[in-house]
Symmetry: C2
Subunit: 355 residues, 2 copies
C-alpha cells in the first residue's frame, strides 16, 4: 500500500490511565455509552461491549450527584479507562476525578467561572486525570458567539485557544482538545486552524449530530478522512444516531482505509457488473461475515470477473477471481487452483486458515 | 455553512450527450448496471432506477457483439446519457459509438494496438462520443507494470499521461480520465499527481472493489472526500458490492457533506447519550424515512437533549430539541412551541410542509 500520508503532527502526549493520546501514539478510538449511568449494570455491560468492539476509551455521562456511586462502580469494573462527560456543574467534575475517571470532558464555557474551572483542574491534577476541553458549535461561550466579525470556525478556534492558554498558564498540560460542529466543511476548517494555532495540543476529532448510520458514516468518513490524511488528529469518536457499538467499526474502517491502524482482516470485493457470471453479492457477504470472526490482519479479495479480477486478487494475501461456474484461487499473487462455484467460500477459508 | 474548499481545479469540459463533465460544471454522479446487457428490459429498467436515484449518467457493459442490438435499444430508451463499458475489443467500442453511446469507457492498455485505439477515436469523433480513458491498477499495461523503478501510483500516472498525450496528439480532447485502485492511499496519491500532471483533463474519481456497503462507503467517502476537498474531481462513481442503486445516495451524501452539490433534505441528528430522555433513534429513523420523500433542500435537526440541542437545532431550517416527555420546536433559530413527545414527528412535518 502506498503511503501518501503527511507525517502526523507530533503533539504532546496526554495520559488517560494506561492509554496515551498524541505524542506519536496510535490513534485512539473511543465512543460513549447511552444507557442511564445510574443503571450500573447496563452501563458497565455497554462499556464492555464497546471495549470488545475496539474502543480504547469509553465516555460515560455523569449527569447529577445521584449517579456518582454508579459512576465509581462502572470505572472500577471497566476493562478500559473511563472518561467522565460533564456539563455545567464543576462539582460533578471533581466527584468524577475522585471516583476513578481517567479523563474529564468539560466545556469550560459552560462551567460558570474561571474559579470553578480551576477547581476542576486542581482535582484532575491531584487524581492523575487528563482533561478534554470540549468546545461545541451548539454551546459556544456567549461572548464569543455574539461576535459578528468571526466565522463559526473562527469562533470555535478563538474559544479553544482561550481555554488552552488558561490551562497551560496554570501548568496543566495533560489535555486533549475538541471543537465539534455538525457540518463537514466547518469541522475541516476548524481542526486545520487548531492544528496550526495549537500544534502542541492532541486533538480529538469528531462531527456532532452526524445523523443516522448511512449519512453519519459518510459525514464522519469525509471529515475525519480529510483531517487524518492531513496528519491531524490523535483520537476520534464517530457519532451516529444508533447503538454506540455501531460507531466503533466505522471508526476502525476510517483508520484502516488510510493505513493508519489495523484491526482484523480487510475484504476487497468488486462491484458486480454485466460481466459478472456468478452471484457475487452473497459470496462477498458470506466471506465478510466469516472474516469478522478472525483477528488476522490479512487482505482477502473476492472478484467477479476475469478483466480486473486476477490483477486485483494478486495484491491480496488470498483471493478468488470468479468465472463461469468456477473461480481461480490465488495466494499472494500465485494461482493455486481452479475451484468449482459451490466450493469457492470453503476453499478460500481453507487457504485463509492455512496462512 | 463555511466554505473550506480549495477552488475547484478548472478542467476542460467533456461533453457526454447533454451532460458536461469538468469546466466548472456541477460534479456528475454516475453508476453502472449489473444486469445482463442482452436483457434489454431488465437493463433499461435498472438504468431508469439509477436515473431516478440521482445518476446523471449510467454505464452499461457491452461484452460481445450479441449484445449490440440490446445496447442500442437501451440507449434509445434511457432518460440519461449512456456510457459503454468496453474491454479488449475495439470493434465493440466502434459499435457502441454507432449505437447511441454518449461516452465510451476504454482502457487503451488492453485494446491491443495504437491503430485500434485510433480507430476508436475516429468512431467517437464521428458520432459525437466522449471517451473515458480508464486506467486500472488491476489491468495495467504490461510494460509499465513491469517497471520496478515506479511505485503503483507512479505506474498509474505514467500510463495515464501516455494515453492522454496520444489522444491529444490526435486532436481528440473530449476525454475524461480515471486511474482506479482498490486502496485509499494509492487512490489519493494517484489523483493528486494526475491533477498536477494533467490539469486540463476532467477526472473521474472512484475506488475499485471497495467492498460491501459499510466498508465500501467508508473507503469511498474517505478517498473521494479527501480529493474533492482538495478541489480534484469532475465526476464520480461510488463502487459497492451491492445493488448499484445503493451506490447513488452514497455518492450524493459525499457531495452534500462537502457542500458541493445538494439533493433533497439534510437530517442533523445527535448520537444519543446518557442525557437523552426520549427514545431518539426511532424518531430520527422515522424522520429520515419521511424526508426521503421530499425534494426540498432543507436541513432538519432532531436533537436528544437540552445541552447542545437548542444550539444545534438553531442552525437548521426546522428542528426539535427533545426533553423529558416533550420537545421544543424550532424554525430558523426561533422557538415556536413546546410539543408533547407523541406529537414530535407530526408537528415537525407540519412545519416542514409549511416551509
Amino acid at each position: 500500500m502506498a503511503n501518501t500520508e503527511t507525517p502526523r503532527s507530533l503533539t504532546r502526549p496526554a495520559h488517560v490511565g494506561s492509554v496515551v493520546i498524541g505524542g506519536g501514539a496510535p490513534i485512539v478510538v473511543q465512543s460513549m455509552t447511552c444507557t442511564k449511568t445510574e443503571d450500573t449494570e447496563a452501563t458497565a455491560a455497554q462499556v464492555r461491549s464497546l471495549a470488545e468492539a475496539g474502543c480504547d476509551l469509553v465516555r460515560v455521562t455523569l449527569p447529577h450527584k445521584g449517579a456518582v456511586d454508579s459512576f465509581a462502580a462502572i470505572c472500577a469494573q471497566s476493562p478500559v479507562p473511563i472518561v467522565a462527560d460533564i456539563h455545567f456543574d464543576y462539582e460533578l467534575a471533581i466527584a468524577a476525578a475522585r471516583s476513578g475517571a481517567a479523563k474529564l470532558r468539560i466545556n469550560p464555557g459552560n462551567i460558570g467561572s474561571w474559579d470553578k474551572v480551576d477547581a476542576v483542574i486542581e482535582a484532575a491534577g491531584e487524581n492523575g486525570c487528563a482533561i478534554r476541553i470540549g468546545v461545541n458549535a451548539g454551546s459556544l461561550d456567549k461572548a464569543v458567539d455574539a461576535r459578528e466579525d468571526l466565522t463559526l470556525p473562527e469562533k470555535l478556534v478563538a474559544s479553544s485557544v482561550e481555554f488552552v492558554r488558561h490551562f497551560e498558564a496554570r501548568g496543566f498540560g495533560n489535555i486533549v482538545l475538541s471543537a465539534k460542529a455538525h457540518d463537514v466543511p466547518t469541522t475541516i476548517e476548524t481542526y486545520r486552524a487548531l492544528s496550526r494555532e495549537l500544534p502542541q495540543v492532541p486533538l480529538h476529532l469528531g462531527v456532532t449530530e452526524a445523523g443516522t448510520p448511512q449519512q453519519g458514516t459518510i459525514k464522519n468518513a469525509v471529515a475525519l478522512g480529510v483531517l487524518l490524511s492531513d496528519g491531524i488528529g490523535d483520537t476520534l469518536r464517530v457519532s451516529l444516531t444508533a447503538d454506540p457499538v455501531e460507531e466503533v467499526p466505522v471508526a476502525w474502517g476510517i483508520l484502516q482505509s488510510l493505513g493508519l491502524r489495523r484491526r482484523g482482516p480487510e475484504l476487497v470485493s468488486c462491484p458486480t457488473c454485466g460481466r459478472t457470471q456468478v452471484n457475487l453479492i452473497p459470496v462477498a457477504q458470506e466471506v465478510e461475515r466469516r472474516l469478522r470472526m478472525l483477528d488476522k490482519p490479512i487482505s482477502v479479495a473476492v472478484m467477479g470477473c476475469v478483466v480486473n479480477g486476477p490483477g486485483e486478487a494478486k495484491g491480496a494475501d488470498v483471493g478468488v477471481a470468479c468465472g463461469k461456474g468456477c473461480a481461480l484461487l490465488f495466494r499472494k499473487g500465485e494461482v493455486l487452483r481452479k475451484v468449482p462455484e459451490d466450493a469457492i467460500i470453503d476453499e478460500l477459508f481453507k487457504e485463509i486458515d492455512a496462512l
